[in-house]
Symmetry: C2
DNA sequence: CGTGCGCTTGACTTTTTTCAATAAAGGTGG
DNA sequence: CCACCTTTATTGAAAAAAGTCAAGCGCACG
């Protein structure tokens, strides 16, 4: 793939919107492309940071592991998202693990190059500040969810979020295996399974096959998410 | 307080180290000073962001509240730390609450000014990128701790961290009430109290008065922190 | 067509929370 | 400096939530 093609790809990423053309040009010059197979590790916790990744398509996840092997998913990344920025600016090492969930094509921009371009084009730095700030909000929300709420509440929040992402559709798909959803919510497959079963019995939703969800009572689901009542 | 004095204060903050003199000058011009009394709210979740705070002295904490009033402390800020940066660069609103733990003197740099100076002095932007990246690491650790480990483990990690911050002293002080320590660890005062009592019975540590701690068996405490065994 | 992985369910254990009562500490004003 | 009052900490007992272990089912993929 040549530089022009890479530049065209960068141009598609909202993150780079509005940056001067010669900035993109320089970034394209140093950018590598890499495609990861499903389940392929992308980086490991503590690894020396190559640089920053742009997801072109596919899906990957960033996670931590406990000593006994339990997974906590920190975030799932999809098309057009940027990851690994934190390791570029402090610590030089990735603070967690990442692996592909499906075939995933990425661009990799090396550490040194990013920093150099930030000096030259402050707008790039501001863009990255925006990304990092958003990431921080994401983590604040995650901490809140994990520490203040019980599993059915977290699940309700998650399902409503998924529905919202699809224009508020009643019927949609968990796009990842349930075991992974559990790992996102900071719990185990068994606990998630029971929570879904209870919500089904309460008439809040219906499950179809292994990943299908139909929301039946948005009202009460929202109340559950807001902590107004509990699933007994 | 005049501009020169503010500039001198900014100069003391490691965060501003190495920035050009005229950058500090401009920042000093727009900086306000404010002192908060103990327990005084600094900002509330969702409030329009004034700008970024620099803690000159004192201590404050940033936290979330659950619907039923339980507190989760996200981070405690002390002298020379910067907070509120995330709200400057995305969202325009603070994502959590902050209040003073004791009398706390701060400098406040307005949003617009920070952004303007970032454009003019890319090093300021890089400094902020560094701060935000570090903050992200902090949250990654917090999420890991909350989701992957039980309370005694989290407590062990916290105590060893406190000890390390004081050159590895065996004897030191929780600098905040135990109830707040509980809120940092994502649990309740009762649970914390019991964890400390058990650790005392196991000979891992000793408590003195309301905030004093003496570590008696670093080895085993470390093992507990590493998840190698459990407190039965 | 079988094997394996993911999902579900049940029974049981452990951890944490909840509720309540008491004790200790800390701060304030006399 | 002491007495009082409020806040903070401890402890017990009971309940609830989540985790563990184990068995079984079903679907997808080779």
């Amino acid at each position: 793939m040549n530089i022009e093609q890479k530049k065209d790809l960068l141009n598609l990423v909202p993150f780079f919107r509005g940056l001067p053309d010669d900035c993109l040009e320089k970034l394209a010059e140093i950018t590598r492309e890499h495609t990861f197979a499903p389940k392929e590790p992308i980086f490991g916790e503590g690894a020396e940071a190559d640089g920053m990744f742009i997801v072109l398509n596919g899906k990957l996840y960033v996670y931590k592991l406990s000593p006994d092997g339990k997974e906590q998913i920190l975030k799932i990344f999809e098309s057009m998202e940027v990851l690994g920025e934190a390791a570029v600016f402090s610590g030089h090492r990735y603070p967690a693990n990442a692996a592909a969930l499906e075939e995933t094509r990425t661009l990799i921009i090396p550490r040194a190059g990013v920093i150099r371009q930030c000096r030259e084009f402050p707008d790039l730095a501001l863009s990255l500040l925006d990304v990092l700030s958003g990431r921080l909000r994401h983590f604040v929300h995650l901490v809140e969810s994990l520490s203040l709420q019980e599993v059915p509440t977290r699940l309700a929040v998650y399902l409503l979020y998924l529905s919202a992402r699809k224009d508020g559709a009643e019927q949609f798909d968990l796009e990842i295996p349930k075991g992974r959803v559990a790992a996102m919510l900071g719990t185990l497959p068994e606990t998630l399974s029971r929570a879904l079963a209870k919500m089904g019995k309460e008439g809040l939703l219906q499950t179809e096959g292994s990943r299908g969800i139909t929301l039946l009572d948005r009202e009460r689901l929202q109340g559950l998410a807001d902590g107004e009542w509990r699933l007994r």
